[in-house]
C-alpha cells in the first residue's frame, strides 16, 4: 500500500506550520506501519491536545482525539477492552510529560502493550510558545522572558525508571532511523516509548536563535550521536540516539488473562 493510502486526504491540508517537524514524524510512523504490513482496521491511534495531537485526524486508522494529557489513559481503556488492537499514541512534550506525566509513568509501570511516541519540540506550540518540561534551562519562551530556570526531564531515563520495556530516541533529521525504531517499538510486546526530537521553527527556533527548519534539522545532526558511536565517546555532551531499553517482561493484558484463568481454575 502507498503511504497516501494511510491518510485521510479529504481532511488535508493539515494545520501544521511550514517547516514543522511533526509531518516528518507522521511520515516515519506511516512508513513503519506500511513496512510492517499492519491492517488499518487493527490500529487505534489516540492523541491528546496540541499541535502533535492533530496527527490522529489525518491517519486512516480508528482515531481518538482526546483531552490534554490523557491520551494514554484513553488508550489503556481501549487496549484492555480489546487487546488484539495495536495502540499508537503520539503525544507532544507538554501533553505527555506535564499534564499527562502521571499517565505516562503508570502506563510504563503496567507495561501495557501500547506504543507511545513523544514528539518533542520543547515548546507549547499551539498556545503560542510557552516553555514545557522538556525545554530545559536558559531557554526563551513567551512565559520565560528572562529565560527558563526549569530543569528538563530526560524522556529516556524517565521512561526507563518508570518501567517501560522498550525505549528509543531519534530525531526528524534521522527519519529512516525513526522508522526503524518505531517498527521495533510497535512489534515489541509491552509499553514502548520512542522520543523523536521534532523542530518547531515558529515558536522555539526563532526565539532561541536556532534558525529556520533546515537549520534546526542540521542542529539535530550536529548535536546528537548514536549510542556506542565514537562521536558520543569523544563528546558525551551530545544527545544520544538509539535503543536504550529492549526487555522481555510480562505484558499487562496477557498477565491479566493469565491471572483470571488461574483464579477460575480453568473454568473460563
Amino acid at each position: 500500500m502507498a503511504i497516501k493510502d494511510y491518510l485521510r486526504q479529504r481532511f488535508f491540508p493539515h494545520i501544521w506550520c511550514p517547516g514543522c517537524g511533526h509531518g516528518i514524524v507522521l511520515s516515519s510512523l506511516l512508513h513503519a506501519v506500511e513496512e510492517l504490513g499492519l491492517a488499518k482496521n487493527d490500529i487505534v491511534m489516540t492523541s491528546g491536545i496540541g499541535c502533535s495531537a492533530r496527527i490522529s485526524g489525518y491517519v486512516d486508522f480508528h482515531s481518538l482525539h482526546t483531552l490534554h494529557g490523557r491520551a494514554l489513559a484513553f488508550a489503556t481503556g481501549v487496549k484492555l477492552a480489546k487487546p488484539a488492537l495495536n495502540l499508537l499514541v503520539p503525544m507532544g512534550d507538554g501533553d505527555a510529560l506535564a499534564i499527562g506525566g502521571n499517565h505516562f509513568i503508570h502506563a510504563a509501570r503496567r507495561n501495557i502493550n501500547i506504543t507511545a511516541i513523544v514528539m518533542n519540540n520543547r515548546i507549547y506550540g499551539m498556545t503560542g510558545g510557552q516553555f514545557s518540561p522538556l525545554s530545559g534551562c536558559g531557554k526563551r519562551a513567551t512565559t520565560a522572558p528572562f529565560l527558563t530556570i526549569d530543569q528538563e526531564f530526560d524522556v529516556v531515563k524517565l521512561a526507563k525508571a518508570a518501567g517501560a520495556s522498550f525505549v528509543a530516541r531519534s530525531t526528524t533529521y534521522h527519519a529512516k532511523e525513526s522508522t526503524l525504531y518505531l517498527k521495533k517499538a510497535i512489534m515489541h510486546k509491552g509499553f514502548s516509548v520512542v522520543e523523536i526530537l521534532s523542530q518547531c521553527p515558529t515558536h522555539y527556533g526563532r526565539k532561541n536563535k536556532e534558525g529556520d527548519a533546515p537549520d534546526m534539522l542540521e542542529l539535530y545532526k550536529d548535536t546528537t550521536a548514536k549510542l556506542g558511536s565514537k562521536a558520543l565517546e569523544k563528546n558525551p555532551d551530545l544527545i544520544p540516539r538509539g535503543i536504550f531499553v529492549e526487555e522481555e517482561r510480562g505484558e499487562y493484558c496477557e498477565e491479566y488473562d493469565k491471572l483470571v484463568d488461574k483464579a477460575m481454575g480453568g473454568a473460563r
Binding site: R8, F11, K40, N41, D42, V44, T46, S56, G57, D60, F61, H62, S63, L64, H65, T66, L67, R70, A73, F74, A75, T76, G77, V78, K79, L80, A81, K82, A84, L85, N102, H103, H106, Y256, V260, A263, M264, R268
Partner: protein, 382 residues
C-alpha cells in the same frame, strides 16, 4: 431463580444492577464511600468475562471507560465528591463525543475533602453543571436497594439509547446501608444493547449523523469503519469543524436529545399523593424519612404525601408543576442547601408555598426534622 435474594449494601445493589445490565468494563480509583463498588467488581467482573482495572487516578478512570466504550463494551466507573470533580472534564468529553458510559457518584459532604464520609446530597448541581459548556445530562437516584438495582439498569439503558454519560447520584447512607435485594429473573427488566450501524464495509459510514429518531448507530473500534472521535465540535464524520452551522447544530443536538425526551427519561414514584394538601418532594436516602413521616401522619388523618424523584436531570418541570398544583405547601426534603428546592420553586405556580426541610451537618435527615418544619408551615407552632 434460586439464590436470588441478597442482604447487601446499596453499593452492592448497584453492582448487581450493573452486571444485570451487561457491564463488561470497569475502571476506578479508591474513594469512600463508593469503594465497595470497585471492590466487588474486581472479583465479579473478571468471572463474568469482563475487565476490571484500578487506574492511577480519577481522571484516568473516566478516560479509560470512554476508550473501552468505543470498543463496544458497556462501561462504568464509581466515585465520590472529590473524584467526581476530577472526572468532570472527561464527562464533558463523553457528552461531546457521545460515548455511552455510567458514572456512579456516592455522595459525601463537600466542598473539597469535606465531611468524609458522612451523608450528603450536595452534588445535585454538580451532576448537572460540573463540566463546562452547555450540554444535556441524565442523573438518576434511588432511596432503596431494589430501586438502586433498577435505576442502575436504567442508567445503562439510557446511556446506550441516548449515547451519553449517565450519572447515578447515590448517597453515603444508601451506599452503605444494608437491606434486602431480590435480583430479578433474567429478562424481567428490559436491557438496551449497543445500537450498531448496519452500514456495510466499503460504504461511507457517518458516525455523527443522527437517524430520523435522533439515535446514532455506532461502530466498534476494530470493526470495518474507521472514523475520528474528538472533543472538538465535529462534522458527521467526526472531523473537527468550526463552521458556525456545524457548531450550532451539534450543540443543539447534544442538548435537545436529552431535553426533548424528558417524558421518557425521567422517573418518579408517588407515595400517598392523590389528595395530598402537603407534598414532600424528596429523593435518595432523604426520601426514606419523608415516606416514614407521611405514613405516620396519614394514620392521624393528615393529607400528606411524597413525590419521590428517581431522576433529577433532566428536571421533570412539567410533572412537578402538575403534582404540586393542588398542594397547600410543598416541602423539599434534601441534604444540601436547597439545590432541588430551587428547581421546584421555578417549576410551580406558587413558589412562595415551597419550603426547604434539610440537614447539612453530615447526619441523615430524620422524620422529626421534617415534622418540625411542617408544624411551622401548618401554623401549629415551633
Amino acid at each position: 431463580m434460586k439464590n436470588n435474594i441478597r442482604f447487601v449494601q446499596g453499593n452492592e445493589a448497584c453492582v448487581e444492577g450493573a452486571l444485570y445490565a451487561g457491564l463488561n468494563f470497569y475502571a476506578g480509583y479508591p474513594i469512600t464511600p463508593s469503594t465497595e463498588i470497585a471492590e466487588s467488581l474486581s472479583g465479579r467482573l473478571p468471572r463474568a468475562g469482563g475487565k476490571f482495572i484500578q487506574m492511577e487516578d480519577e481522571i484516568a478512570s473516566m478516560c479509560a471507560i470512554i476508550g473501552a466504550s468505543l470498543t463496544g463494551k458497556k462501561v462504568m466507573t464509581a466515585t465520590s465528591g472529590p473524584g467526581f470533580s476530577l472526572k468532570q472534564e472527561a464527562i464533558g468529553y463523553a457528552c461531546m463525543a457521545e460515548i455511552p458510559c455510567v458514572i456512579a457518584n456516592v455522595q459525601r459532604g463537600g466542598p473539597s475533602t469535606g465531611n468524609p464520609t458522612h451523608v450528603s446530597q450536595g452534588d445535585v448541581n454538580q451532576a448537572r453543571w460540573g463540566t463546562h459548556g452547555d450540554h444535556g445530562i441524565i442523573a438518576l437516584t434511588a432511596s432503596n436497594h431494589q430501586d438502586v438495582f433498577a435505576i442502575t439498569v436504567d442508567a445503562f439503558n439510557l446511556a446506550e439509547t441516548y449515547r451519553t454519560p449517565v450519572i447515578l447520584l447515590l448517597d453515603e447512607a444508601i451506599g452503605h446501608m444494608r437491606e434486602k435485594l431480590v435480583i430479578p429473573e433474567e429478562g424481567a427488566l428490559p436491557i438496551v444493547d449497543r445500537l450498531r450501524t448496519s452500514v456495510g464495509k466499503g460504504v461511507d459510514y457517518h458516525p455523527y449523523l443522527p437517524r430520523e429518531d435522533g439515535r446514532l448507530p455506532m461502530s466498534d473500534f476494530g470493526d470495518v469503519h474507521r472514523y475520528n472521535v474528538t472533543g472538538l465540535f465535529h462534522d458527521m464524520w467526526g472531523f473537527p469543524s468550526n463552521n458556525p452551522r456545524v457548531v450550532n447544530e451539534l450543540l443543539h443536538h447534544i442538548v435537545d436529545k436529552i431535553e426533548n425526551n424528558v417524558h421518557s427519561i425521567t422517573r418518579h414514584k408517588e407515595h400517598f399523593l392523590e389528595d395530598a394538601d402537603y407534598v414532600m418532594v424528596s429523593y435518595g436516602s432523604s426520601a426514606r424519612s419523608a415516606i416514614h413521616l407521611a405514613k405516620n401522619r396519614r394514620k392521624r388523618g393528615e393529607k400528606i404525601g411524597v413525590l419521590e424523584l428517581q431522576s433529577i436531570w433532566p428536571f421533570p418541570t412539567a410533572m412537578i408543576r402538575e403534582k404540586c398544583s393542588g398542594a397547600k405547601a410543598v416541602i423539599v426534603v434534601e441534604m444540601n442547601m436547597g439545590q432541588v428546592l430551587a428547581q421546584v420553586k421555578s417549576a410551580v405556580d406558587h413558589p412562595e408555598n415551597v419550603f426547604l426541610a434539610n440537614r447539612i451537618d453530615g447526619e441523615l435527615i430524620t422524620p422529626t426534622d421534617i415534622k418540625q418544619l411542617l408544624r411551622v408551615i401548618q401554623g401549629r407552632g415551633v
